[in-house]
C-alpha cells in the first residue's frame, strides 16, 4: 500500500470515529434538553465539527433521521461559524411519523391542542397570555383538561412561560415542528 493511500485510510478512519463520537453525544441525553450546543461539539470534535456534522447528516438520512440545527436567530439566512457555535444540534426523524403506529407522548386531542396553541402564539408574534390561551382552547375542550394540556406542553418544552404569565414558543417547537408547513396546511385546509 502506497504512503498516500495509507494516509487516506487513516484520515477516513479518523473522520469515521469523529462521526461516531458525535452521534453518541447527540443521542445520549445528559440534561433535560437533548442534543448539544455547537460549542460543545466543537470542544468534543474540533473546529471542523460543522463538516463532520454534514457528513453525519448524510449518513443519518439513510436511516430516516436527520441532523437538525436550530439557530438562536430563527430567521438567519447565512449563518457564520459563531452562529453555529451558539446553535442547538438535534437528531430528529427526517419524515413525520404518521405511517408508523407511534403516537408518542401525546394522544390526538393533545396534539390538536398543541397545534392550536402553537399556531395561536405564532400568529400573535410569539407572545400570548396564559389565561387567553385557556379561554381559546376551552371552546373545544374542558378548562380542566386545557390547563393540564398547557402545563404538559410547558413541561415538555413546546411552550415557555415567563413571570408575567406570557406564553411563547419553546425550544422543542423549533426543534421538532415545521412551523411554516403547519401554517400553510391550516391556511389551505378546507373546512
Amino acid at each position: 500500500m502506497s504512503k498516500d493511500k495509507k494516509k487516506f485510510e487513516k484520515r477516513k478512519l479518523t473522520i469515521f470515529n469523529k462521526m461516531k463520537k458525535m452521534l453518541v453525544y447527540l443521542l445520549v441525553q445528559r440534561r433535560s434538553i437533548p442534543g448539544a450546543k455547537g460549542f460543545e461539539l466543537k470542544k468534543l470534535i474540533g473546529t471542523k465539527y460543522t463538516f463532520i456534522a454534514n457528513l453525519l447528516n448524510k449518513e443519518l438520512e439513510t436511516y430516516g433521521l436527520k441532523l437538525k440545527i436550530v439557530f438562536q436567530d430563527k430567521n438567519i439566512e447565512n449563518p457564520s461559524l459563531q452562529d453555529y457555535d451558539k446553535a442547538y444540534f438535534y437528531i430528529t426523524t427526517s419524515e413525520p411519523i404518521i405511517a408508523t403506529p407511534l403516537k408518542g407522548q401525546f394522544n390526538m386531542e393533545e396534539l390538536g391542542a398543541l397545534a392550536a396553541s402553537i399556531l395561536l402564539i405564532y400568529s400573535k408574534n410569539n407572545k400570548y397570555e396564559y389565561e387567553n390561551l385557556i379561554d381559546f382552547l376551552s371552546n373545544k375542550i374542558s378548562k380542566l383538561k386545557t390547563r393540564r394540556f398547557i402545563d404538559k406542553f410547558i413541561k415538555k418544552g413546546y411552550l415557555e412561560i415567563d413571570e408575567n404569565n406570557i406564553l411563547s414558543l419553546g425550544w422543542r417547537t423549533y426543534a421538532e415542528i415545521d412551523l411554516q408547513m403547519l401554517t400553510k396546511i391550516i391556511a389551505i385546509y378546507s373546512v
Binding site: 441525553q29 413525520p96 390526538m108 390538536g112 397545534a115 395561536l120 415542528i177 391556511a187
Partner: protein, 233 residues
C-alpha cells in the same frame, strides 16, 4: 463605451440589487424595463451589447419567477393574517388539527440509559451517604457541644453526683457490692456502677472478689484496663 451599454448596465445593476438583497420583487416595474429594453434593442451594435441585453432579459425573467413564488407563498398562507388563521382554527375540529400536526412533527431521537460506571458511582454514593437518623443525632450532639452553659451545668452536676456517691461508698467500706446492688432498682444500679467506675479510675477505691462476691475497698486498683460489670436489670 456608448449610451446603450451604459443604460443596459444600469438596468442590470438595478435588477441585481433586488435579487441580491432579497427585496420585494414587486419594487421593480417589469413593464417599463421591458419597454426600455425594446427601445434599446434597435440600437444594439456589438456582440457585447447583445450579451448585456440577453443578461438583462434573463435577470428580468428571474424577477418574474420571484414574483410568482412570492404570490404563491402569500396566497397559500393567506398572507399569514393572524385573524384568518385563528378563524380557521376555531372552525377545524381539534382531532383534525391533531392529524395535521402529525404531518408537521419530526420527533427528536434521544436515549436515556444507565451504564456500569454510573451504577458504580451511584452505589458508592449510597454507601457513603449517612442515614437521616444518624445525621439528626450528630446535629443534636453538636448543639450540646457548642452550648457552653449547658455543658458547664452538666459537668458541675456530674461532679456533685460523683461526690455524693463517693461519700456514700467511702462511708460503707468495705462495701459488699453484690448485696448492695440486689436491693436497688435498675436505675440506681446503673448510677451506682457508673459512678463507681469513675472512683476506681481515679484510684480512690478498688474491687476485690471474695467467696464469689464483689467487695469495694479503699485504695487504688491493680488493674488499669476498663471495668465491665455484668448485671441483671
Amino acid at each position: 463605451m456608448n449610451n446603450t451599454t451604459d443604460e443596459l448596465e444600469k438596468i442590470i445593476e438595478e435588477i441585481n440589487l433586488i435579487i441580491q438583497k432579497k427585496k420585494d420583487p414587486f419594487e421593480i416595474n417589469i413593464k417599463s424595463l421591458l419597454k426600455k429594453l425594446n427601445e434599446l434593442y434597435i440600437k444594439l451594435q456589438s456582440i457585447e451589447e447583445y450579451s448585456k441585453d440577453a443578461e438583462a432579459i434573463n435577470l428580468l425573467a428571474t424577477i418574474v419567477k420571484e414574483q410568482s413564488n412570492y404570490l404563491y407563498d402569500k396566497s397559500s398562507t393567506l398572507f399569514l393574517a393572524a385573524e384568518k388563521l385563528i378563524e380557521k382554527l376555531t372552525k377545524i375540529s381539534i382531532l383534525e388539527i391533531g392529524k395535521i400536526m402529525e404531518m408537521c412533527m419530526y420527533p427528536i431521537a434521544t436515549t436515556n440509559f444507565i451504564n456500569n460506571d454510573s451504577i458504580k458511582i451511584g452505589y458508592e454514593y449510597w454507601l457513603a451517604k449517612s442515614s437521616i437518623r444518624s445525621e439528626r443525632r450528630t446535629y443534636e450532639t453538636k448543639i450540646n457541644l457548642i452550648n457552653k452553659d449547658e455543658f458547664y451545668y452538666s459537668d458541675r452536676k456530674f461532679i456533685n453526683d460523683l461526690k455524693k456517691y463517693e461519700e456514700v461508698i467511702l462511708s460503707k467500706l468495705p462495701l459488699n457490692l453484690t448485696k448492695e446492688i440486689e436491693n436497688l432498682n435498675s436505675k440506681d444500679k446503673i448510677n451506682l456502677l457508673y459512678y463507681l467506675s469513675f472512683l476506681i479510675a481515679q484510684g480512690k477505691v478498688h474491687l476485690v472478689e471474695k467467696n464469689e462476691e464483689l467487695y469495694v475497698d479503699a485504695g487504688p486498683s491493680k488493674f488499669t484496663n476498663s471495668i465491665i460489670f455484668r448485671i441483671k436489670l
